[in-house]
């Protein structure tokens, strides 16, 4: 009986002070984003939308490569086809662009299922090259399709029915929903029933299988989720850009940005991509005028992180200090 009493003095909990603070800040940031149409100017709105796209893109690649162990270098395929889905629905079928931005997510699903079936048996490097070829095939097929504007691309004329203010409001709200689904969704997924399985898979796929995790099924679901999330990034980005061409939509630079953000921030953590996105976006705004010098520094930084600090910036800052902004594990604490 004594024991039971003792147990009551201990507390099993997951949330930390840092986590509570981070969640409040994230909630406040989202509210601030939603209220932007009433106080922000066009430049700031565009920057926030762009930042959100990079963050969501990185969160999806992190889920794919960091947790499910599928290193794809062709995620721009899903980004591009979703954007083309949006432009085709709005341009050829007169669907409202904001509605089309949701409906077009069917296209990345239709691409992801056969892609996964084709590539699922391939290990590491084969898988990576396979995804890149898929993205190139998408780019080349669309470049040769007159209905989709061939290599010169398409313009989202349907947006003319809205005023500039309405467009900005719609896009920034879409961006807020996108962050909630991708970044919030990753956090929710890792705290859900699948979270433990995903973490086990991240650490060692073979031993996760031996512990009863259905790795194959989980990988498929993550691949599908990442395809949809990445497609949403394409829809939001090009809803704001209004102009789309095969070389822009399927630009390998998209995956370069995602890899940079995740690797520099810290792969396989939820905090890492957030940190990486802030670093990338700040560096981009401050130094992109330096052009090639800036890109050389970015390349060298990626090289140094891959060789000397595999855990990224998070592992040598917050992670080392034992911070948990987005805690996913349980702790036993003693209650006083």
């Amino acid at each position: 009986m004594n024991r039971a009493v003792e147990v009551r003095h201990h507390l099993v909990s997951r949330q930390t002070n840092g986590g509570r603070l981070a969640l409040s800040l994230a909630g406040a940031a989202l509210l601030l984003m939603v209220s932007m149409p009433w106080w922000a100017d066009a430049g700031l709105t565009r920057s926030v939308v762009e930042f959100s796209c990079y963050l969501a893109l990185a969160a999806m690649w992190n889920l794919l490569a960091g947790y499910a162990g599928m290193v794809s270098i062709g995620q721009q395929a899903f980004l591009g086809v979703a954007a083309y889905g949006l432009f085709a629905l709005a341009g050829h079928f007169d669907v409202d662009p904001f509605l089309a931005a949701g409906l077009c997510l069917v296209v990345p699903v239709l691409l992801a299922v056969p892609t996964y079936l084709l590539l699922r048996r391939l290990e590491g490097p084969y898988f990576a090259i396979g995804t890149w070829v898929i993205a190139e095939v998408c780019r080349l097929v669309i470049s040769n399709t007159e209905w989709l504007g061939s290599s010169s691309g398409m313009t989202l004329r349907a947006m003319q029915q809205y005023s500039l203010e309405q467009r900005q409001m719609g896009v920034v709200w879409m961006a807020a929903i996108m962050l909630l689904l991708t970044v919030g969704g990753s956090y929710w997924l890792l705290r859900s029933r699948f979270g433990l399985a995903l973490t086990a898979m991240r650490d060692n796929a073979v031993s996760a299988t031996s512990q009863g995790v259905d790795v194959e099924r989980l990988r498929f679901l993550v691949f599908l989720a990442a395809a949809i999330g990445t497609g949403l990034v394409g829809a939001v980005y090009y809803l704001s850009a209004l102009r789309l061409s095969p070389n822009a939509g399927f630009d390998p630079n998209w995956i370069a940005i995602a890899i940079f953000i995740v690797m520099v921030g810290g792969i396989g953590t939820l905090e890492g991509p957030l940190l990486g996105a802030v670093v990338y976006f700040t560096a981009d705004r401050l130094f992109s005028d330096y052009g090639v010098t800036y890109m050389i520094a970015l390349g060298l930084l990626t090289l140094v992180v891959a060789l000397y600090a595999r855990g990224g910036l998070w592992s040598i800052t917050g992670g080392r200090l034992g911070w948990h902004w987005f805690p996913t594990r349980w702790w036993l604490r003693s209650g006083r």
């Binding site: 084709l118 070829v133 010098t293 390349g299 060298l300 891959a306």
Partner: protein, 287 residues
């Protein structure tokens, strides 16, 4: 007749891809390094060749003699001081490290040579052609093809017949066991990369003779090298050669059907091979 012509042109084009794929196949087979900077190293060496040729006023083959030792030395240093840290069972670190290197090389080239396309003057070699019955074949593509056969054969013999080749194969099979028997894996790995980049030096001279090169061309060439290696079966030298031929023929025939579909036809053949025989055509064969 035009399909026979396309096939022959495709095989000769495949000679170029075989040269890219050789070094990549070697690096993957020995160290399991996926070198995403392979295409950018090729373009870097092409620019080195153009500069050397222009400043010394020498022809393409003399340029090659100057560039290959430089390339091999560069490869040795690259592996010894940078990439050896990324060797391991997990392909991710080497993929990301070489990816960073790729961005660095591309932009460094852009800073030094600007975005203007350049090419290597070949003293007429690039225009000459010979007639094979009713077909005309460029002299340069024939040189490229012959060089590809000779290089693949030479690397094959090097791996089979020399003590360096034995050490290399031993380190590839089991690094720990090899180091017990007196092989220094770090040195052997550096030797493998020196060989791979040295071969790329030959390919770089041919590439700059064949077409114009500009700093952003690397990734476009890289994808063909990857495809050739995977079609053939990773780690198999003659497999990569065969893969390069298949890719070249697919692109040439696709290009005849519709100029926009050349590269696409190559990608589709690659995807079909992945679907039907993901281990590659010659996997498990002679390495």
């Amino acid at each position: 007749m035009q399909w026979l012509d396309a096939t022959i042109q495709g095989i000769l084009l495949g000679g170029m891809y075989a040269q890219y794929a050789l070094g990549m196949s070697l690096m993957f087979g020995v160290m399991r390094i996926v070198n995403t900077a392979h295409g950018d190293l090729l373009i870097l060496l092409s620019f080195v060749a153009i500069s050397v040729s222009a400043s010394l006023q020498i022809g393409p083959y003399s340029t090659m003699l100057a560039v290959v030792p430089l390339a091999a030395a560069g490869g040795y240093l690259l592996q010894r001081f940078v990439l050896n840290r990324a060797v391991g069972n997990d392909p991710l670190p080497s993929l990301i490290a070489t990816f960073g290197l790729s961005i660095t090389i591309q932009n460094a080239l852009l800073a030094v040579f600007t975005a203007d396309p350049r090419s290597l003057p070949g003293n007429g070699l690039e225009y000459d052609s010979i007639s094979l019955g009713p077909l005309f074949v460029g002299v340069l593509p024939v040189h490229i093809f012959v060089a590809a056969v000779l290089l693949t054969g030479a690397v094959h013999l090097l791996l089979r017949r020399t003590s360096f080749g034995r050490a290399l194969r031993a380190a590839a099979a089991d690094t720990d066991a090899a180091s017990i028997t007196g092989v220094n894996p770090r040195h052997v790995y550096a030797g493998a990369t020196a060989l791979a980049v040295g071969v790329l030096g030959v390919a770089a001279v041919f590439q700059a003779l064949r077409v114009t090169v500009s700093p952003a061309d690397g990734p476009g060439q890289l994808i063909y090298a990857f495809e050739a290696v995977i079609i053939g079966g990773m780690g198999s030298l003659w497999g990569a050669f065969l893969g390069a031929m298949l890719l070249g023929v697919a692109q040439a025939i696709g290009g005849r059907i519709d100029p926009g579909w050349g590269a696409l036809a190559g990608h589709l053949v690659f995807l079909v091979v992945l679907a039907v025989r993901p281990q590659g055509l010659l996997s498990g064969g002679a390495r």
